[in-house]
Each structure stands twice: as structure tokens, then as C-alpha cells.
């Protein structure tokens, strides 16, 4: 099998080399973000060339290459080529422009190549990373990083950010985090982890139901709902200092959503006797009421420019997604298909809204244009697929799924491809919320 694939790749490679590779391939300087996952870019990441002597350091250089592969694969843009097919020996072959035989890479199908040069001395590491366009036979990125061994992850992530920036024009997701709810401690509490599920940490210790994490745009504040004082109240926490402001009124105080770039948030309050969406300051003072309709209005999600927000209302009799324009005050219904549509999440690119639709036997995630056209189903798994949250670059969607029994956090591309579980943690996980991309980057 493997041999046949290799032969196939070899034949294609020969044909391509013969008939002018420079003309037709690798013309992307920017990935077409409207359909980037249909054809993944074949990427080769050979083991990094290690110039240190000890076995431990050799091990580190291997794990660094693997981590770089995994991180780029996570984006959904790349097909990582199997190292077994490479006509390359990291111990002997070169990793710099002048020493690379690019035909060895185009033959195995690689359009992009990342090489690494890894040196360690004591606690210090020095890593040189390069991205090559194999068909154009040119170096695209070359960077040298030094730091302590504990910086290895952030070094690789920074380089991956450079690679994605080169291909897409933005730095991707590698500096972002995901907040979510987990009941592993016996109560639902809020946790955070890196974009790829790394380093999950418990953020709240409320020993009470805690729900609906919401990051501020600058990543410095987290709003959420907790029952720790008995009632479902809002809390606004300064993540750096740990101080919290409590907002409590009779009824529910839920579903906070920070206005983009502002120290203000929308939230659902019911002290008036009706569930309505309000605008609050980050200090917990009501600025104004944003919705006005008898019945449930809940779950605001802002457009990236902060001029509109999507929300859920049952004003038509069943829960559907609506959009309110703040300047005109006009409200329009967005979703018409499906019995109940909830949990809207406005894409950071502004053109789409993901939401949860009730289907027979559970829920599935859909994406719809903000003009209400062309709802597309992204999940088809059994039971519940809920609570979509876009990555900061709009390329990925985190969501919760109970496809394997207990609810877990999953990630997929914005087109529903490459669905995978994000992390392994005790208990059930729900309510993922992706942060913006500046944290620790």
C-alpha cells in the first residue's frame, strides 16, 4: 500500500517536474481563505538537525519537530507528509538554502518544507527555523530563536505564527486560549487551556454551578455566571489580579458577551420580570436595555465591529436567532429553518454566524450568512453538538459534543472538516469560548 502511494507520488512528481512546476504550482502567497481546506498544502517537516551531543537533546529536537508538525496540522491548512517517505537524512543533509536539494522534496510531494537546526547548551537552546517553498526553490522565512528549554513551546508557536502570517496574512490562533466549563471537580467550574488543549487549568473555585465564560477583547477580563452566592449572578474578573465585580439582580444574570474592543458587555437579565438583553459597563453598571420584546431574549453575540449583535428570541413562538442593529434599532430574524436555533456566534470575519440547531435526537452546528442565506450543517454526529465558538482568525470552530457519550470539547475547521477532540479531562466539558490571539504571543 505504502509502496504504491510512494510510487504514485513519485510519478506525479516526475510529471510535474517535467512539465514546468514553476508555472502552475505554489502560486499562493496567500491562502484562499474562502476555501482553504479543500486542498491541503503538502508540508514536510523533517526531524530537526541536532548539533548537540547528548541523547536528551536529541530527544528534544525530535519533540520540537513533532510539535511544529502537530501545530501546523492543527490549523487544517496542511497535510503533513510522512517522514518515512523522505529522501532526506537529517544527520547528513543540509538544512540551509544552499545545501537543500529541492527536487528531493518536490518528488515526495512537498510544496512547503520546514527545516530546523537545534542546539542546546545547559538550559539554553538555540533554534533556527526555516520555511522553504520547494517548487520555487526559495527560502520564505528564516528565524533564529534562543531561550531556555522551557521556552521551546513558545519558540515553535512563534515560528508557526510567522508561517501562517506568510500564508494567510494574519497570525492565526497560536496565541489564543480556550475557556470552557468542566464538572470534573463535582461542580461546573470554568477552566482555560491553550488553543490546542495544552495546559488546562481551573480558573474558578466557586464550588457552585459556574457557566458562560466570556473573554474581553484584550484578554484581561473574564465574565461568567455563577451560583456561588445562591442566585445565578454575573461576575467580572480581572484575570491578572483575580479581583471580581459581582452583578446581582433578582432573576437570571447570564450569558455575558464583551463588546469588541470595549470595557462593556451585553448580558441577559430578568429583574424586570422578562428576560431581556442589557448593555453593562465592565464595572457592572447598567448602561441601557438593548432588547424589548415580551418573552425570552438571551445569548447576545457581537458583530466584529460592535454595531450589531445576534441573539436568541422566542418572540415568534420558538427559539430563533435574530440580529439587532444598534444604530437603527431594527431587529431582523436570521434563521427560519429548524425547530429551535440557539447559541449564535458571530464570526470574527463578520460574514457568518454559527449556531446550534435542534434536530431529531439532539443538536447540530450550522453556519449561516449574515444575510440569512444558505444555512450549512457542519456536524452530523449523533447526540448533541453545541456551543460553537470561532477562533480569533475565523478559521476554526470550537464546540462541545457528546458523540462519544460524555460531553467533550472539539475543534473543526470553519467548513466542518477535521473534527477532533481538543483535550482529555475528567468529567464533562461544555461551553467553549475562544479568546483573541494576543495572549502570550
Amino acid at each position: 500500500m505504502n509502496r504504491r502511494i510512494k510510487l504514485y507520488i513519485f510519478i506525479i512528481g516526475v510529471i510535474l517536474i517535467t512539465f514546468g512546476p514553476a508555472r502552475c504550482w505554489a502560486e499562493y502567497d496567500v491562502i484562499d481563505i474562502t476555501k482553504p481546506f479543500l486542498r491541503k498544502i503538502p508540508l514536510a517537516v523533517p526531524l530537526f538537525k541536532n548539533v548537540s551531543e547528548t541523547a536528551e537533546e536529541k530527544q528534544l529536537s525530535e519533540t520540537a519537530a513533532d510539535f511544529l508538525s502537530d501545530t501546523l496540522e492543527f490549523t487544517g491548512y496542511f497535510k503533513i507528509l510522512d517522514r518515512g517517505s523522505f529522501l532526506f537524512d537529517p544527520e547528513r543533509s543540509g538544512v540551509t538554502m544552499s545545501t537543500i536539494n529541492f527536487q528531493n522534496w518536490t518528488v515526495v510531494g512537498a510544496e512547503l518544507l520546514v527545516t530546523g537546526f537545534y542546539e542546546a547548551e545547559g538550559d539554553r537552546i538555540s533554534v533556527e527555523l526555516r520555511l522553504f517553498d520547494t517548487f520555487k526553490a526559495r527560502r520564505v522565512i528564516g528565524k533564529k530563536y534562543t531561550g531556555s528549554k522551557t521556552n521551546q513551546r513558545s519558540i515553535i508557536l512563534r515560528f508557526c505564527g510567522d508561517v501562517i502570517n506568510y500564508l494567510t496574512g494574519n497570525r492565526g490562533v497560536f496565541g489564543s486560549k480556550i475557556a470552557f466549563v468542566s464538572n470534573g471537580s463535582g461542580n461546573k467550574e470554568i477552566y482555560t487551556c491553550a488553543f490546542d488543549g495544552y495546559d488546562p487549568r481551573r480558573l474558578t473555585n466557586n464550588n457552585a454551578i459556574t457557566l458562560f465564560p466570556a473573554w474581553s477583547t484584550d484578554g484581561k477580563w473574564m465574565a461568567f455566571t455563577s451560583y456561588k452566592a445562591g442566585n445565578p449572578d454575573l461576575y467580572i474578573r480581572n484575570l491578572g489580579q483575580g479581583q471580581e465585580t459581582k452583578f446581582s439582580k433578582q432573576g437570571i444574570n447570564i450569558t455575558p458577551a464583551w463588546a469588541p474592543g470595549k470595557f462593556e458587555l451585553a448580558a441577559t437579565l430578568s429583574f424586570s420580570g422578562d428576560q431581556e438583553i442589557y448593555l453593562l459597563t465592565g464595572a457592572g453598571k447598567i448602561i441601557k436595555r438593548l432588547t424589548n420584546s415580551r418573552g425570552i431574549d438571551v445569548t447576545p453575540s457581537w458583530s466584529p465591529d460592535g454595531k450589531q449583535f445576534a441573539f436568541v428570541s422566542n418572540r415568534s413562538g420558538s427559539a430563533q436567532v435574530y440580529i439587532k442593529d444598534l444604530a437603527s434599532g431594527k431587529v431582523r430574524r436570521l434563521t427560519y429553518e429548524g425547530r429551535k436555533n440557539t447559541q449564535p456566534s458571530w464570526s470574527p470575519r463578520g460574514d457568518k454566524i454559527a449556531y446550534t440547531s435542534e434536530v431529531s435526537g439532539g443538536h447540530d452546528i450550522y453556519v449561516i450568512g449574515i444575510d440569512g442565506q444558505d444555512p450549512v450543517q457542519l456536524t452530523y454526529e449523533s447526540r448533541d453538538n453545541e456551543a460553537a465558538s470561532w477562533s480569533p482568525d475565523g478559521s476554526l470552530i470550537a464546540f462541545s459534543s457528546s458523540r462519544d457519550g460524555p460531553s467533550r470539547i472539539y475543534v473543526m475547521t470553519a467548513y466542518g472538516t477535521d473534527q477532533r477532540r481538543l483535550l482529555v479531562l475528567a468529567g464533562e466539558q461544555t461551553n467553549p469560548k475562544w479568546s483573541t490571539n494576543h495572549l502570550n504571543n
Binding site: 461546573k188 454551578i209 457557566l211 458562560f212 445562591g230 442566585n231 445565578p232 433578582q250 432573576g251 437570571i252 447570564i254 450569558t255 441577559t268 430578568s270 420580570g273 428576560q275 425570552i296 438571551v298 445569548t299 436568541v312 420558538s318 427559539a319 429551535k340 440557539t342 447559541q343 446550534t356 435542534e358 443538536h363 453545541e386 456551543a387 461544555t430 461551553n431
Partner: protein, 175 residues
């Protein structure tokens, strides 16, 4: 123009309703004339309601555990009170009138279907509808507080209608 339309629709809905009510009353009269009526016929339990307890006469001084401990149940995605729930709340009101110092927390709950934000709002409306009904029956609003738990505290965790029906409830805690 639109107001008139609504009025027409409202009338269209109300008039058949009135006719229906009249029909019901007639039936009740004929039943009452029937020989050997046991007593007032017990209201038929609504589908999904817990098995009706033996119709114990409300003893106002009795233990609060009896009537107050009974949950009331709601239809799927609705916060309107069913006839069975209204009947139950009337009996709760009787107990509350006899125990004016009691304060009660009304918990609104939802089944696990639907997403949890919406279900928290739904539970809120359910608790509110129960409270409003008791206030209409003369119970002091100040003695009643509400809290929604949405789908967070199910009493039954299987995934079937019988279980979901048990979770769509208002629960009453006498403080």
C-alpha cells in the same frame, strides 16, 4: 389597522373558547345530577404529571411536607401552567394562606433538551409563572422568591420522555 386585526384574531380565539367552557359546565351539571356522586371528581392528571397523590384534604395546619413538596410540571418548551399545575398551586395557596409566615423559594427547571442558556431563561419563566399565579390567589409576593436552575439540576437523568417530563418542573422549598 393592525390593532383591529389582532382584536379579530383574539375574538376568533376567545369565542370558541367560551363556547367550549359553556359545554363543559353543562356536562358538570349532568354529572352532578347523576346518582351517588362520590364527591367532586378529581381532576384528570395531565400527561407527564407525577402520579396523583391520594386527594388528601388540605389541612392548613398540617406539615408543609405534603402539598408544598409536590412539584408542578410543564409542557415542553412552555412556561404556561397546565390545568393540573393550576390545581396544585391552588392547594399550595391554601396552605400558604394558613401559614402566612412561611416564605417559599420557587425553583424553575428545564429538561436537558435545548441549550443551557435558553433553558435557564425558560426555568426563570416557569418559576415566575408559578409565582404570579400564587400572587393572583392572594399570596404576598414578598413571601415568594424565584430562582432558575435551567437544565442544571435534573431529578431524572435518563434520556426519555418520561424522564424529561419529570425535569420540566417547578420545585417549592419552604424556608
Amino acid at each position: 389597522m393592525q390593532k383591529k386585526l389582532w382584536l379579530m384574531i383574539a375574538l376568533l380565539l376567545v369565542i370558541p373558547g367560551l363556547l367550549f367552557m359553556v359545554g363543559c359546565q353543562k356536562k358538570a351539571v349532568t354529572q352532578a345530577k347523576a346518582p351517588a356522586p362520590a364527591s367532586a371528581p378529581a381532576p384528570a392528571p395531565a400527561p407527564g404529571q407525577a402520579p396523583a397523590k391520594a386527594p388528601t384534604p388540605v389541612t392548613p395546619s398540617g406539615p408543609s411536607g405534603m402539598i408544598m413538596a409536590e412539584d408542578i410540571f410543564y409542557d415542553f418548551d412552555r412556561s404556561l401552567l397546565t390545568p393540573a399545575a393550576q390545581d396544585n398551586l391552588m392547594r399550595k395557596a391554601a396552605w400558604l394562606r394558613a401559614n402566612p409566615k412561611a416564605t417559599v423559594t420557587i425553583e424553575g427547571h428545564a429538561d436537558e433538551r435545548g441549550t443551557n442558556e435558553y433553558n435557564l431563561a425558560l426555568g426563570d419563566r416557569r418559576a415566575d409563572s408559578a409565582k404570579a399565579f400564587l400572587v393572583d390567589l392572594g399570596i404576598a409576593a414578598s413571601s415568594l422568591t424565584t430562582i432558575s436552575y435551567g437544565e442544571e439540576r435534573p431529578v431524572c437523568t435518563q434520556q426519555n420522555e418520561e424522564c424529561w417530563a419529570k425535569n420540566r418542573r417547578a420545585h417549592f422549598v419552604v424556608n
